[in-house]
């Protein structure tokens, strides 16, 4: 080995011996100014991702189709975070002894969020939405999760031309997406097919017609009514082809399962790549069962343990909520991972297409309570 940096080896030795004194000196000579308590990038992270927010219902108005528009303002900060149009928030509240929550697509635009205004359109379709549509009143306070979800446009993935197919209350994310386009925050051209039973069931018609004046291509499709200027029937392949080229667009679908099933058949003939069709996932509800069994569910939260009842036909998350346990959750569709919990023992069932867990989660016994149905007595730890 002939390595020699300097002619005299003892110089290298001297330099080596100075490493520690040099560092000691540099540490001692650091500035004595107070250490920063805020960092810009972290402030932006907090602004964009506040986690859970405190909100108040400001106003409400009835909408066609058994729906209600709810307008919220944020209480714990001067504005909502900027978000990606198409995303949802989860609204959470105590109803009776339960702590309930449901995800709803945001109707208002990301720009409106910065003016401390966030709008939801809720259809009366269950326990919590029934409460929101019938009982909630201005001044009521709720907890709301930050805007989340992957049902939004991706510039580098999607076609510059998007075709949105809405059924019933599935119209909500598309209002935000159209507004965001008009406001210059999204680069796409948008065509919207809105399927409803009849004219009386079209929600947000005034807003949609105004957006159509500003660049939204809008086609109403009425199944039960014939009217001039409105398409009649269902959203079929034939109808789509009248307006768009299915091979050069990205589809965004939001509506009931029956609509997804129908459209899947209609779109099958085009053999589109998977990436060309995006669906907004629906909440995981109860299972149809003749005589569901009741199991014992032992729940650990940090160092506290409670024992509650869980029904075979309901998700573990529903059991937790019924018992008034504050269990983290957001999407209720198995995908966001926010409810990620440890299974200590017991069995559960999850539909394979709902199973959004990571591979190692399955290996090491973790579950997403929002899509897991108990199959025995269970013991879990929730974060």
């Amino acid at each position: 080995m002939k390595f020699k940096k300097q002619i005299f080896g003892f110089m290298d030795m001297l330099r080596f011996k100075k490493l520690v004194p040099n560092r000691r000196k540099a540490l001692a000579e650091g500035a004595d100014t107070p250490l920063p308590t805020e960092y810009r990038v972290n402030q932006m992270a907090d602004a964009l991702h506040p986690g859970r927010m405190q909100v108040e219902l400001v106003s409400a108005r009835p909408l066609p189709g058994n729906m209600r528009e709810l307008v919220f303002k944020r209480l714990d900060a001067p504005a909502f975070p900027f978000f990606r149009a198409g995303q949802y928030v989860s609204l959470q509240s105590a109803v009776g002894n339960s702590l309930v929550s449901r995800p709803y697509s945001i109707v208002s635009s990301p720009r409106e969020a910065l003016e401390n205004r966030l709008v939801l359109g809720v259809e009366d379709a269950g326990f919590f939405s029934g409460h929101l549509v019938k009982d909630a009143k201005p001044g009521d306070r709720f907890r709301m999760t930050e805007p989340s979800g992957e049902f939004h446009y991706e510039t580098l993935r999607d076609s510059g031309e998007i075709v949105c197919l809405a059924g019933g209350s599935g119209i909500t994310p598309f209002l935000s997406m159209a507004k965001s386009m008009v406001e210059g925050d999204e680069p796409y051209k948008m065509t919207l097919f809105y399927g409803a039973r009849d004219l009386a069931h079209i929600a947000f018609k005034e807003e949609l017609d105004a957006l159509a004046e500003k660049g939204l291509r809008l086609i109403y499709v009425l199944s039960d009514e014939q009217r001039d200027g409105y398409e009649h029937g269902f959203i079929t392949a034939g109808l789509l082809e009248k307006y768009i080229d299915p091979h050069s667009v990205t589809f965004f679908l939001c509506g009931p399962q029956a609509m997804y099933d129908f459209l899947e058949k209609e779109l099958a003939q085009y053999q589109l790549p998977r990436k060309a069709v995006r669906r907004d996932p629906a909440c995981c509800g109860n299972r149809e069962m003749e005589a569901p069994k009741t199991f014992q569910l032992t729940v650990h939260v940090r160092d506290k343990v409670s024992v509650i009842e869980a029904h075979e036909n309901e998700t573990v998350l529903t059991a937790l909520e019924r018992a008034g346990i504050d269990a983290p959750n957001k999407c209720r569709a198995g995908g966001c991972g926010y409810c990620h919990s440890k299974l200590l023992h017991g069995d559960f069932f999850v539909e394979p297409e709902r199973d959004g867990r990571r591979e190692a989660d399955r290996k090491f016994g973790f579950l997403h309570p929002c899509v897991s149905y108990p199959q025995s007595d269970m013991e879990i730890e929730i974060p």
Binding site: M1, F3, K4, K5, G9, D12, M13, R15, F16, L19, V20, N22, R23, R24, A26, L27, A28, E29, G30, A31, D32, T33, P34, L35, P36, T37, Y39, R40, V41, N42, M44, A45, L48, P81, F82, R84, P110, R111, L114, E150, E154, T155, L156, R157, D185, P273, R274, K275, R302, D303, P328, G335, G337, Y338, H340, R358, E359, A360, F364, P383
Partner: protein, 515 residues
């Protein structure tokens, strides 16, 4: 063993690689331990996430110094001692790296194994054999010296060092470039050899040769490995191990304050909701900037702590693009597992270009399928592209420009990859996700979205950090650090090692107290 509700021998703050390892070490030492994590998952950067039919690796490119079961490297040996090696299914990374530089048009695929590496280098740079051979001899001596140093817990005998590792000491205070010049290595061979520099995030004029040499020798001789189920598998294996050893882990539980008594000794850790956990020992898997700037009670903060923390420089801020592609790597022509693509082979110039978001086009890019074909469904493949910003330029971005800014950087990464490799990937994107410094700040809380801790440059290089381990811990008795900001600096292997060291040293502190 002291354990009752809200009272533990040790509280570990942060379940990143360092924190998880430290917690296991404390428990193995026979003491009680609570691990606090602000996120709902363990691992910190060591995690994965699902988009559509893809499960993306969040950060791990390859695990250094792992070795085979028969010839284990230091990290496999550590995992064995921790009791997690066999909880994880491992795959071997096939080749070292594929270096591409725009300025000099390098396109070099380098293998593992010293002989193969030297041979390949000789093909690219005829006449490099002698200096490359000497380089590896020197690296071997560096590694042996470090092994000796570790075996005596850093209390090295100067005479023994001089006698047995003379070149280690001679080269010890020089930078990578200084040593390679002294070895008379041809410039082109230096360029190709220095490709790993972005893994340490300091240019080769300022990076200590000892640091770089010890990393390269570990990669080339002990190759690199990866868990099949992404790094989330390691994190959950460690979570399980902690439970087996009787430790507690609280997720969604952010430690906010470290409380002290009248003598300024640690008395408790306070959570965001006010819960106090009694303890006298904390291992912080987060930055001294957060601990001394925000968490430690003001009355216990000394001028020395403030100066020592202010003296240090944040390393790179992370940015990663994740792509799920609807064609196989073969169909797309992506041949390598691990690409380093630089604007320039000159690491000093490159580092400078990385200061600004707009001028930075560096990427360390992985196509996981080329190491583990089954990581995504047949007919698809997965890629992740990582870069760093060497300043807070990202902080200039406004909230309303945030999503567009992420897209701009991501688009540039795709453009550069397509241009330099000729592989067209853009039309095959089925899933896409972008993590910016904001994302890293959000999930792990690191200041400015830093992913590499403090820069190991100049006076703060690895060697003096290691030699000052004991001295640094005296800054605040009862508190030790683990993870990327600790003595071993950043990177997976280093974070595990720092957790091992701080965990065992804390056990030593506790045992000394009992006496």
């Amino acid at each position: 063993m002291e354990k009752r509700r809200n009272k533990y021998d040790v509280v570990v703050i942060g379940a990143g690689n360092g924190g998880l390892t430290a917690a296991i070490r404390v428990l193995q030492g026979g003491f009680s331990c609570l691990l606090l994590e602000k996120h709902n998952l363990p691992g910190g950067f060591a995690t994965s996430f699902v988009r559509g039919r893809f499960e993306f690796e969040a950060s791990l490119h390859e695990l250094n110094d792992f070795g085979s079961p028969q010839e284990p490297g230091d990290i496999r040996t550590l995992f064995r001692e921790l009791g997690v090696e066999n909880k994880i299914d491992w795959i071997r990374i096939p080749e070292a790296y594929h270096l591409i530089t725009t300025d000099k048009q390098y396109d070099c695929e380098m293998p593992f194994g010293i002989d193969a590496y030297i041979e390949k280098m000789e093909q690219y740079v005829p006449g490099s054999r002698k200096s490359m051979t000497e380089f590896f001899e020197l690296c071997n001596e560096v590694r042996d010296a470090q092994t000796y140093s570790n075996s005596v817990n850093g209390n090295t005998d100067a005479e023994y060092m001089k006698k047995n590792f003379p070149n280690f000491i001679k080269a010890g205070s020089y930078s990578v470039n200084e040593v390679l010049d002294a070895l008379k290595m041809p410039k082109k061979a230096q360029d190709i050899l220095n490709a790993y520099w972005c893994y340490l995030g300091v240019d080769c004029d300022r990076m200590s040769f000892l640091h770089y040499g010890s990393m390269v020798i570990r990669y080339i001789t002990r190759d690199a490995w990866m868990p099949k189920m992404r790094s989330h598998e390691i994190s959950l294996a460690m979570d399980e191990r902690i439970r087996e050893l009787g430790g507690d882990i609280w997720y969604n539980s952010q430690a906010e304050k470290i409380l002290t008594d009248e003598q300024n000794r640690i008395r408790a850790v306070q959570l965001a909701d006010g819960t106090e956990i009694e303890t006298h020992h904390v291992i912080a898997n987060c930055s001294p900037h957060l601990v001394f700037g925000k968490m430690l009670e003001k009355k216990s903060l000394t001028e020395q702590m403030i100066r020592a923390t202010n003296a240090r420089t944040f390393a790179g801020r992370g940015f990663t693009l994740f792509l799920g592609l609807n064609k196989s790597a073969q169909e797309l022509g992506i041949k390598s597992h691990n690409y380093f693509i630089y604007d320039t082979a000159d690491s000093v110039k490159q580092y400078d270009l990385m200061r600004r978001v707009e001028t930075n086009h560096v990427q360390a890019t992985v196509c996981l399928n080329n190491a583990y074909p089954e990581c995504s469904p047949p007919g698809t493949c997965m890629m992740y592209f990582t870069t760093m910003f060497m300043s807070d330029d990202w902080g200039n971005i406004s909230q309303t420009d945030y999503f567009k800014a992420k897209d701009r950087v991501a688009e540039d990464m795709i453009r550069v990859f397509e241009r330099e490799t000729g592989c067209k990937i853009r039309d095959s994107i089925e899933e896409i996700c972008v993590a910016s410094p904001t994302t890293y700040a959000r999930y792990c809380g690191h200041p400015q979205g830093v992913i590499y801790g403090y820069e190991t440059a100049d006076w703060d290089s690895l060697m003096p950090r290691m030699m000052m381990m004991k001295e640094d811990a005296k800054l605040f008795p009862g508190l030790r650090f683990a993870g990327g900001y600790a003595m071993r600096s950043s990177g997976y292997s280093s974070a595990y090692v720092s957790g091992d060291l701080s965990g065992r040293q804390t056990v030593g502190d506790l045992k000394a107290e009992v006496k």
